[in-house]
């Protein structure tokens, strides 16, 4: 032990001698206190709340009807470049209000993000638990499947998937879920294996309690922090990847608005209207930064072992 660790341990032990009875602080209050104490956490949290509010309330806060095409308004510049307040960020090549479309896309992207992660988490956890609990053939099969999937770049799987099932919302969701289930499976499998060997499981088994029940009851609290961190960062990844696939035309199909689709349109009209591209770009940026900041904060605080950023 280094000199400083020695000294600090001693200081801590000494302070335990002067025991003060701590009041019970609720977990929520502690959580918010942590957030408040971290620049990263606070800024990420604030932005995240903003994004979520926009996503949930988008139908309500949209200034215009996002499908309405007003020919006269084609390529209308934003209000700060000579346009009108009614169309804050101007209009696109079909005269549709950019700002409203960006807002609605928030809903689409966030929804996909949560949906995909939820599916991946559920299926991944289930497979991981089965793998860890039953071992043997199930374990080998599932793990080999995971390895195989990771041996080739995801983009190739996505391409084949889209080619077979055709691009669209559900193809997208399935393809993206398939991309990320593995980490959840591994996490839960690891924890299941560990729990299986613990004495209290064997002890409980000896008095007749079904160990499956015990394990399930104990897995969740143990993996919860890691899973939340993983899930948060995965949502960001899904949103970006969805944008990329939609940009290529392999994801969300028009007229459903998505940042990727908007950017794809915007790419063709970079000369005429920058904001067709910049609007959705800002949307992606703010959301992504928010999630990454907050996810990073979560990981630093609750699960430092995961080294991703």
């Amino acid at each position: 032990m280094s000199a400083i660790e020695d000294a600090e341990t001693v200081a801590q032990v000494s302070q335990l001698d002067a025991v003060v009875v701590e009041e019970h602080v609720s977990a929520w209050r502690k959580f918010f206190a942590e957030i408040a104490g971290s620049t990263k956490g606070l800024s990420g949290f604030v932005l995240l709340v903003l994004v979520l509010l926009v996503a949930i309330l988008s139908d309500v806060i949209m200034p215009q009807d996002h499908t309405e095409q007003i020919i006269a308004n084609r390529f209308l510049p934003p209000v700060f470049a000579g346009g009108e307040w009614a169309h804050f960020l101007g209009c696109d090549n079909l005269g549709r209000d950019i700002f409203s479309r960006v807002i609605l896309s928030t809903q689409t992207s966030v929804a996909i993000g949560f949906l995909v992660v939820l599916i991946a988490m559920t299926i991944g956890s289930a497979l991981g638990a089965i793998s860890g609990y039953f071992g043997g053939f199930a374990d080998t099969a599932i793990m080999r499947l995971a390895d195989f999937q990771l041996s080739i770049p995801f983009i190739l799987l996505a391409i084949i998937f889209m080619a077979i099932f055709g691009p669209g919302f559900w193809s997208l969701v399935v393809a993206l879920s398939v991309a990320i289930w593995v980490n959840y499976a591994r996490l839960v499998r690891g924890e299941t294996l560990r729990l299986r060997e613990l004495e209290f499981v064997q002890a409980a088994r000896s008095i007749g309690v079904r160990d499956a029940a015990i394990i399930v009851k104990h897995i969740l609290p143990n993996v919860f922090p890691s899973m939340v961190v993983m899930a948060t960062l995965d949502v960001a990844w899904v949103i970006i990847f969805e944008a990329a696939l939609s940009f290529l035309g392999l994801g969300i199909q028009p007229p459903m608005p998505s940042w990727g689709v908007m950017i794809s349109d915007g790419r063709n009209y970079l000369f005429e209207s920058e904001w067709m591209t910049l609007g959705p770009a800002l949307g992606i940026l703010i959301t992504s930064v928010a999630i990454n900041l907050f996810g990073d904060f979560l990981r630093d605080t609750y699960d430092p072992k995961q080294a991703r950023l």
């Binding site: 080739i152 770049p153 970079l270 990454n292």
Partner: protein
């Protein structure tokens, strides 16, 4: 070492076979009659063509037979014929492979060259302004998708400033360098290089950020270790302690994930090729999906996937050389 190599090659072969299996049977899952779908995307197909196509795709054969036929063909270099172009798919992929490779590899190299010094410096100057700057770059790097960055670059450098082209490609970069050196003419180099700058930087940013953070956290971990104290106690100069003793250990986690990063980068390249109209495999792949040119899609997946698996073997070998502890553990 030899037994390791053989085992990994066998494993790779198994994976590639699985990929081929997967790819050859997945045709069966297409809802409806795939040939009709394809025909819809490709005008000028006759009934004879369609029947020939059905045979070629193996729709008339049972799964296992189709698989065998495909593998047999693959071993001879025949991965089917593109519906759209009516030439062997392998040829189409090989024509475009250099473009994709040069972009992917250049991006990786740039990323590593910038990330490693950045990671080391931010670790050694933890808490300083540079470290803070590094964190900001890291968050941005991870948050901005490369295709978006590419488009923003086009907006700024091509549309607004007219400095760089927004699409197209010059000569294969190594050739360009060679010719420029032969003739001592920088212009020859620039003519090709100017096309690759924007896509490369766009691609490289997120990998740079990722690597810089990884190097940083690995360095922070390593400099707290006892063996670094020992190196200092031996009276070694600081640069030897940090750049040799510390970094040599800190780079191990980075090497571990290079394979992962290359896969990620490849995905990015595929998208970036579409942003910059870069004539590589990625652009071809997206078009193939739209045309429902299944033989071409199959070939792309098999060839790129196979290449990727082989690259991972090379990475594994490097990893074993770099970390002596795992050499005898086996795999």
């Amino acid at each position: 070492m030899l037994s390791f190599l053989i085992r990994r090659l066998l494993y790779a072969a198994v994976v590639i076979v699985c990929v081929i299996f997967f790819v050859s049977i997945i045709i069966k899952f297409i809802p409806g009659d795939p040939v009709d779908v394809m025909a819809a995307g490709n005008p000028g197909i006759t009934e004879e063509d369609k029947q020939r196509l059905r045979e070629q795709l193996g729709l008339t054969r049972p799964v296992h037979e189709q698989f065998v036929v495909y593998i047999w063909g693959a071993l001879q270099g025949d991965l089917g014929q593109s519906i759209r172009f009516r030439v062997p798919t392998a040829q189409l992929v090989l024509e475009r492979l250099p473009a994709t490779l040069e972009l992917t590899i250049l991006s990786m190299v740039v990323a590593v060259l910038i990330a490693i010094p950045l990671g080391i410096v931010t670790a050694l100057r933890q808490g300083s302004a540079i470290d803070y700057g590094g964190t900001v770059i890291a968050i941005l790097g991870v948050s901005i998708p490369s295709f978006l960055l590419g488009i923003l670059f086009i907006l700024v450098f091509a549309v607004d400033l007219f400095w760089l082209p927004s699409s197209g490609r010059g000569e294969f970069l190594p050739y360009a360098v060679w010719h420029a050196l032969l003739n001592l003419d920088f212009d020859i180099f620039w003519k090709s290089f100017k096309f690759i700058i924007l896509p490369t930087v766009a691609l490289a940013l997120s990998v740079t950020a990722w690597n810089a953070r990884l190097t940083r956290s690995a360095m922070l971990d390593v400099i707290r270790q006892d063996y670094i104290q020992f190196a200092k106690a031996k009276g070694l100069p600081d640069r030897v302690v940090y750049l040799r003793h510390a970094f040599r250990n800190a780079m191990i986690p980075s090497i571990t994930i290079i394979g992962l990063q290359l896969g990620y980068l490849l995905g990015g390249t595929f998208v970036i090729e579409n942003v910059f109209a870069w004539p590589g495999v990625g652009r071809l792949a997206v078009q193939a999906v739209f045309w429902r040119d299944y033989p071409l899609i199959q070939a792309i997946v098999v060839m790129i996937g196979g290449m990727f698996v082989l690259i991972n073997i090379v990475i594994d070998i490097i990893y074993r050389e770099v970390d002596p502890r795992i050499r005898y553990v086996g795999d």
